[in-house]
């Protein structure tokens, strides 16, 4: 526990710094954009309606979607920029609305008095209207601060590190302390920044300077504390680039030394938001680092965001699944058999995007039907086709979404499974439900560690009615030209079968081990015969 906590604290400078680096400039940018726009909206009645409508509409886009949309808008760029722009959009509305409300709330007698004593329109704005509207404007900035600091946690799936990394990673691993840890710091940061703006508000309302200085001091401390590590590491990397000549002498070792063929190279590895992907990302990282490369793993990324990022050379490599590319990228509806699909997917990616599909890892992570081994043996059931005679007395549990998916419809029709009673259930509970005899069958994922842990039998699918989801290594167009990288990856092909992957997942999901341990398990597990 202590060690785990230590590990969490170790990442804090990076995540907290990343969080601040996103949230604070987004709020400041929101102020710089929205206050002038609010003034414009106040003065220009024709502009007011459209401006407020656009701002309100932008605000109603669900935040996680807006972040993903920004990746697409920027042509697949991931990381800081799309996250920053989305957060900026979010910070704008409350400030814009309150600037307008604040200005509209200024007593007309005050503006007339301002004109009467001889102020120009500009002087009236700066000396009377804005000071009098300031408390309301600051209240808007407070709202924006709370929103933005909270929403910044959602920047993890677009590849910008933040305190959200703790939360996403914790949720995925069902590691609650990690989730609480991330939440705690996100909440604390929100409260501190909110307090700081509140002090500015008090200073503005009571028209005193003291609280304003106090607020500025708080902001300065938070920023310095949060950004110092980021700045230090930037400084460090600057120095190490400068000392690079010494190192490049080392890299110019004959490239024929396979053990060190990646020295001096940098790779960014992507991973989606579930355990298996985190393990595989870490596994790739260890493989490449063993050859001397520097790597960075961007975990918990959205699936389509990852693909766009790869296409755009924002990341260098990641593991995807043939069935996913088949439906989401190639937009095919009818699945084909496993090997032809792999060939089609690889060809399509190469021709359309310049993406290199290095090959298959060996296992599939597809939908599957599973039941207790004991019950299967007793009834003599080995494959899905053996089910129909027993269906009248059976209940099948699955993700509520599963029973609406084309995969299920195909399997049901192919094997005549019409008679089975279905029950929607969250994935977290269905493995336990079938283990404890509450249901007879579940629709799971074929590499889920709990299949092995709970002694469940995976029913064979001889008709291949479930579409194939072969795990494949994909390289970005730029990385495709990196022959040293490709040569490093080739030996990995066909090295992980379904059972090995299940056991790795089991280590994390059931036994609570760390991702790095599961990755090491994949590395150390001796090569096996390929599945096919």
């Amino acid at each position: 526990m202590n060690e785990a906590l230590h590990e969490l604290f170790e990442k804090l400078p990076d995540y907290l710094g990343g969080h601040l680096l996103l949230a604070v400039p987004a709020i400041i940018g929101g102020v710089l954009l929205s206050v002038p726009l609010g003034i414009l909206a106040h003065r220009n009645a024709t502009l007011r309606g459209p401006l407020m409508t656009v701002a309100s509409l932008a605000q109603t886009i669900p935040s996680i979607a807006l972040l993903a949309i920004m990746v697409a808008v920027l042509g697949g760029t991931i990381g800081y920029r799309p996250a920053f722009i989305a957060l900026l959009v979010y910070s704008m509305l409350p400030i814009l609305r309150n600037t307008l409300t604040g200005l509209q709330g200024v007593d007309p007698a005050m503006t007339e008095a301002a004109r009467g004593v001889g102020m120009t329109a500009r002087q009236t704005l700066w000396q009377v209207q804005l000071p009098l509207a300031l408390p309301v404007i600051l209240a808007g900035i407070r709202t924006a601060t709370v929103w933005v600091v909270g929403i910044t946690t959602l920047s993890t799936p677009v590849g910008a590190p933040s305190l959200g990394n703790y939360i996403f990673s914790g949720l995925q691993l069902r590691d609650w302390p990690q989730v609480y840890f991330g939440c705690f710091f996100a909440m604390a940061l929100t409260l501190v920044l909110d307090r700081a703006v509140r002090l500015l508000e008090i200073a503005a309302t009571r028209r005193r300077r003291g609280p304003a200085w106090f607020a500025v001091a708080i902001l300065a401390i938070v920023l310095a504390g949060g950004l110092a590590p980021a700045l230090l590491s930037a400084f460090d990397s600057l120095r190490s680039t400068r000392s690079a000549p010494g190192r490049s002498a080392g890299t110019s070792l004959p490239p024929t030394d396979p053990a060190k063929r990646l020295v001096g190279r940098d790779y960014t590895i992507g991973a989606k938001g579930f355990t298996e992907q985190a393990i595989l990302g870490e596994w790739l990282s260890q493989v490449l680092e063993d050859r001397g490369a520097e790597t960075k793993v961007l975990g918990n990324m959205g699936s389509t965001i990852l693909f766009d990022a790869l296409r755009n050379d924002s990341i260098d490599l990641y593991i995807d699944y043939t069935g996913t590319i088949w439906t989401t990228v190639m937009k095919r509806d009818k699945p084909i058999r496993r090997v032809p699909m792999f060939v089609d997917v690889a060809g399509h990616l190469r021709n359309e995007f310049g993406i290199l599909c290095v090959g298959r890892l060996g296992f599939e992570n597809t939908y599957c039907l599973a039941m207790r081994r004991q019950q299967a043996d007793r009834l003599g059931i080995r494959q899905i086709g053996d089910l129909p005679p027993h269906l009248a007395r059976m209940t099948l549990a699955g993700d509520p979404e599963f029973f609406g998916r084309p995969e299920w419809i195909r399997v049901r029709d192919r094997y005549n499974l019409d008679g089975v009673k279905t029950q929607g259930m969250d994935a977290t509970f269905m493995y336990q439900a079938v283990r404890d005899d509450q249901v007879d069958l579940i629709s799971g994922f074929s590499t889920d560690g709990r299949l092995a842990a709970y002694d469940l039998t995976l029913l064979e699918d001889p008709e291949q009615a479930f579409p194939p989801y072969d795990a494949i290594i994909l390289l970005s167009p730029a990385a495709s030209r990196d022959s040293a990288l490709v040569r490093t990856l080739l030996p990995l092909l066909n090295q992980i079968d379904g059972d090995t992957m299940r056991r790795a997942n089991l280590l994390v999901d059931v036994e609570g081990r760390r991702i790095s341990e599961a990755a090491r398990f994949l590395l150390e597990d001796p090569p096996k015969d390929p599945e096919r």
């Binding site: 007698a109 009467g116 004593v117």
Partner: protein, 265 residues
């Protein structure tokens, strides 16, 4: 450039204001001359056009037609900002800026005109003394910490700050309690006599007009009904309306005396 002493401080010729393109008039064909140093009251009920007339003088409202001169200068041809800085204005309901101190409020127009800060400070002290608000005690306070009467004193000081030769007052005493109003009216009169500026005072209170003004301009429905000294108005009211107006203070005084007599007997 001291203007010719014979030039009226303020001159309105044929001034009209319509808000609906000439269908109806808030002020219609108004003619008025105000000699230097005179205190004129614009008197009438609500909607008679007295406030509109006042605001056209410093162009808070622009007239639809007509001609206005301040010290011989054509108001409509001059820069409205510079014009307003050269004319003092006391607002209905005071109109002090709540985010500024008393001193900053008083010094606002000199600051806008670009006086040096020493000069502004001296001027603020002089004026606060003049309106009986000791600067040491009041200069750094906020308007909200002051009583209504004190606020209006600050309002006077602010109007006088940039040494204007013309002061406009819009119902300046209207919101005050009777005792404060009475003493403030007398103080204002003393200051006006002492500094010798020209003043136009908008009011609906005949007593106030009779007690303060050198001349009274009675207005009704956007036009002038009668112009005269308090004495002339009392002696020869031009219309029934004026007669009823000047009769009110007498009626009231009469009734108060009756009450006193009854109480004594």
């Amino acid at each position: 450039m001291p203007p010719d002493p014979d030039t009226p401080a303020l001159r309105l010729r044929d001034v009209s204001k319509s808000y609906d393109g000439g269908q109806s008039f808030a002020v219609q064909k108004l003619d008025l001359n105000v000699p230097r140093g005179e205190l004129v009251a614009l008197l009438g009920g609500s909607g008679c056009g007295k406030t509109t007339t006042l605001k056209m003088i410093n162009r808070l409202i622009d007239p639809t037609s007509g001609h206005i001169e301040v010290d011989g200068r054509d108001v409509l041809a001059s820069d409205p900002i510079a014009l307003r800085r050269s004319i003092g204005y006391v607002f209905q309901g005071v109109g002090l800026f709540p985010h500024l101190t008393v001193g900053q409020n008083v010094g606002i127009t000199p600051q806008l005109v670009g006086w040096e800060s020493d000069r502004i400070e001296n001027r603020v002290e002089t004026l606060l003394d003049m309106v009986h608000l000791p600067p040491a005690e009041f200069r750094d306070r906020k308007p909200t910490e002051l009583s209504g009467g004190q606020q209006q004193r600050v309002g006077f000081a602010r109007a006088l700050a940039a040494e204007p030769s013309l002061i406009l007052l819009d119902e300046a005493f209207g919101a005050l309690d009777p005792i404060t109003r009475d003493s403030l009216q007398q103080e204002f009169l003393e200051i006006q006599r002492q500094l010798g500026f020209t003043a136009v005072l908008v009011t609906h209170d005949m007593t106030e007009a009779l007690l303060l003004a050198d001349r009274i301009v009675v207005m009704e429905e956007g036009g002038i009904v009668q112009v005269g000294t308090p004495h002339e108005l009392l002696a020869r009211p031009a219309t029934d309306y004026v007669e009823r107006l000047v009769a009110t203070p007498r009626h009231q005084a009469g009734r108060v005396e009756e009450l006193l007599a009854r109480a004594e007997s």
